[in-house]
Symmetry: C2
Subunit: 544 residues, 2 copies
């Protein structure tokens, strides 16, 4: 171990003991314990789980009382987990982002920090409900149907959902090791970043009160448990680190993101924006953290708009409309035929529609009949159609079974404007709560697929993100997974998670008067006060 703060979740350390003799008839376990205790850097209690005693003692003896101990570094104690005859070539551990719709995982070598492989899959619980609320209800329904079953440990409804996600993780684990010469049983640790409900469902804990006032989770933080206690196919004694949550709507995935952003370890003040089903925003530095979550996300993530979809192959991620020629260009993820719009594509599209003056500052389609510019009027006549009694913009026309038709309907546009308004109002309110302005921020980290694909300039044009120099914005990718990797690799990261939880202040914006006022002002493009967005062009109607 180079330094204590760099101790991985599980580490391998050489241990050599004197051989037994008539002069030294110490019991095997004590012999191992003493030799091991002597090399530990601190006096925290050393636990040897009862179920590990036989295998530890036998391997210690077989190795001639000299070999390599595998040790779990838990917050309040050391756990002696295994004994090997020699130093292994790798020490694989798994980091898991446990999303509501999607799982992403990497295999990390704890000896070198190297990523050995990565994989992802759909969350199999989708079978029981696309979103969290419907899964909680489903668990309750299954419970009602199986009332005769013993409730003492785990509800049958919960058991079904728990077994589903465990099977899903096990399948993902098998995929993860497939090409790197590792057996699943050789994975010695797991870290999991998930929202509060997904964490409850994985652990078999009742999420029933999460979605009912006053919104109380069963747990926010749990001590690491052993993999076998969850039914995972990793090594049975592999410790499982569950990222702690702050509350029902502020989960371990975001704590992981805060960790990965580095904001909680920095003197400078940063902001983290994570857009998923909710938009979660955190502001702070090493001294303080303030956070909020709101339902700004759906339209942006692509979950609500009729043509919305996740950032996946076939999703339009880029749109441009030439304001002179009205040439419309789209790019899809993977370059395959378009199937829908992901969040970044939607932002591009709406910003382009605004700059090309196809929509007005309220986000309403303008009337081609009242358009003076002939080129624009022609474009509008070509692209604006009435569907189901409302104006819609044809992003991609249907052509002989090649592309699907991709439409942007007025109703989706309205949802998008509400979302962007909510997002800006959240950011502005949060910054104002601590007496800062946007210009005081060193960095704005944008997490997830959204952050990877979004064009900040277009988001600024819409008035969704503050009008700052583009260098302030940084896409940090799947920060939930990155944080999970970090806790596997360093004790300082594990400690930082616990520190973040104790340091963070959560602001409830749904009942915040300032937020409501700011939300109203932000329901225009870019804003009712255009001076907040000097880089966005002003058109005649605003100058009036």
């Amino acid at each position: 171990m180079s330094s204590e703060s760099m101790i991985p979740f599980v580490f391998a350390v050489p241990v050599t003991a004197e051989k037994p003799s008539l002069q030294d008839n110490t019991a095997d376990l004590d012999r191992l314990r003493h030799a091991f205790r002597a090399i530990l850097p601190d006096t925290r209690p050393l636990e040897i789980p009862f179920a590990r005693i036989v295998v530890l003692c036998r391997r210690f003896r077989q190795a001639g009382f000299s070999g390599v101990a595998l040790v779990n570094d838990l917050p309040e104690r050391w756990v002696l987990a295994d004994f090997l005859p020699e130093m292994p070539s790798t020490l694989p551990a798994m980091a898991l982002d446990l999303g509501t719709t999607h799982l992403e995982a990497t295999l990390v070598d704890l000896l070198t920090g190297r990523i050995l492989s990565s994989a992802g899959c759909e969350n199999s619980q989708i079978e029981y409900g696309a979103d969290i609320l419907s899964r909680i209800h489903q668990a309750t329904n299954i419970r009602r149907q199986k009332r005769e079953i013993d409730f003492s440990f785990i509800d049958p409804g919960l058991a079904v959902l728990q077994q589903s996600i465990v099977a899903c993780i096990n399948t993902l684990t098998a995929e993860l090791v497939a090409d790197c010469g590792v057996e699943t049983g050789e994975i010695r640790a797991l870290s999991v970043s998930g929202n509060t409900t997904m964490t409850h469902l994985l652990l078999g804990l009742d999420p029933f009160h999460i979605c009912r006032e006053p919104y109380i989770p069963m747990v926010n933080g749990v001590e690491p448990m052993e993999s076998r206690e969850l039914g995972l196919i990793l090594h049975g004694a592999a410790p499982v680190w569950i990222m702690p949550s702050i509350g029902s709507y502020f989960g371990g995935d975001l704590i992981s993101g805060i960790l990965a952003s580095g904001m909680a370890a920095s003197e400078q003040t940063r902001m983290l924006i994570d857009v998923g089903t909710n938009a979660e925003v955190v502001l702070g530095n090493q001294d303080w953290l303030i956070a909020c979550a709101g339902a700004a996300g759906p339209a942006l993530e692509g979950g609500v708009a009729r043509m919305g979809m996740r950032a996946a192959p076939g999703a339009i991620e880029y749109v441009s409309i030439d304001p002179e020629t009205y040439a419309l260009e789209v790019k899809t993820i993977g370059g395959v035929p378009a199937r829908g719009l992901c969040g970044s594509g939607l932002i591009d599209l709406v910003a382009s529609l605004y700059l090309a003056r196809i929509i007005d500052i309220r986000g309403k389609f303008r009337d081609p009949a009242r358009e003076n510019d002939p080129a624009r009027a022609a474009f509008m006549r070509q692209r604006l159609v009435m569907r189901d009694g409302q104006p819609s913009f044809v992003v991609v026309a249907a052509r002989d079974g090649d592309d699907d038709e991709v439409l942007l309907e007025q109703i989706d546009l309205d949802a998008m404007i509400r979302s962007k308004a909510a997002m800006y109002a959240v950011l502005a309110t949060l910054v104002n709560q601590v007496g800062l302005a946007f210009v005081d921020l060193t960095e704005i980290c944008v997490a997830g697929a959204f952050g990877n694909h979004i064009n900040p300039q277009q988001a600024i044009t819409l008035g969704m993100l503050p009008d700052l120099d583009l260098s302030v914005y940084r896409a940090i990718g799947n920060s939930s997974l990155r944080g999970a990797e970090q806790v596997l690799l360093a004790r300082s990261a594990r400690q930082e998670c616990l520190d973040i939880v104790s340091k963070i202040t959560y602001v409830e914006l749904n009942v915040n008067q300032e937020f409501m006022i700011r939300f109203s002002g932000a329901r225009f493009i870019p804003h009712t006060d255009p001076s907040l967005f000097p880089s966005v062009p002003l058109f005649a109607e605003q100058k009036e």
Copy 2:
């Protein structure tokens, strides 16, 4: 809790928390943890086992966030085990003396210290061997027969023996609760005193090296485990306290006896004698303890002499021979027809034979033909017979299917003399090792059935026990079981066990020159140096 040192192994404590609200949306588990932490008397880590989280949180909620927590007081941490709506009327725990041949148990109420019931049974492992060595060999043989089975956790041979003793304990548990209105699943803790091998066999640990030089047990001390990890039918989360051992031949049963004797907590120096398969002797006080074990026991316990038997119904426990009339009187345990001689009966018999001058100072039957006293000669002719070519004494004659014939053969008498010599040599050597004399001892505690039945005066006559005032001797009964009860009831007793282990010095007498010299001197009745036994009458042959 009146005082920390009096905290039972499991205790019940009222816990009341604020109810959740929008202003206080702490998670259920944290709410419970905080309310509980606030009433704990120290800052040791608080563990909530993963498997208990669901049931704890649910019961906490069902009880309206107010009720009674059940807490396990483990050496290095608190464990929150259960939550009840109200204070229970009893909190049953089981104390178990896990003997090689016999199990004894009591049910203790941890709220009051009251003994609720007691029971005993034969050790079911006797099916696999009467003694420890044959059971170890049996485990190895079963292992060889089942070589194809995975060895990773527990050997099949060990598994058979472990399941046997667990089933035996479960049967005993059911018997224990039968008449006191308690369910087995309501027993909240267990303490076990056993020798080192029996402890290994209960825990499924390999005893293979215990009986092979250099005689290394797999473990001496283990952290308490949960009852469910052993397959017991107590409450699954009941912690199991295993009395620590010192080595292969100095087990937890003796640590328990030291605890029960009170010697390790006293300023005055005491001696503890525990005669079982081995004779184990401990000497010391609160500052130091010295101990040894030797094979002095068999003849005394009744395991070796042909007519020997355990102290059980039908065992002759008392013998007297009137030195004037030569009237021979015997009493059996339970007053039933005689079946054999237990240790105390054997001591009585041999001492009486000596005082009646039927045997000489070497422990040899005297020749009736050379006897001058007519009454004695008549008695000898009546009672001394030749069997299998050696002289034997008829203790009880066979009579028409009533009593069995009970004989004392010369070979058994010789074994008895060796045993008593070994015992005295052990005691004398041990006392001399620390520079003391017998008169420095405040008390000599004699444990077990042996201690309950033995007549110290007769043992002194034989030269087995030192010639001290009889008030020095105290029978302390089943001290192994008494110690097991004490650790259930008080933290100070649990701590004392650990202190005893760290404080005790073990002396190996098999290779001790002084012991061998003292052994030779003690192979006469009472001793080659009769001045050591002033209360024992001297006869002509010694005066010469």
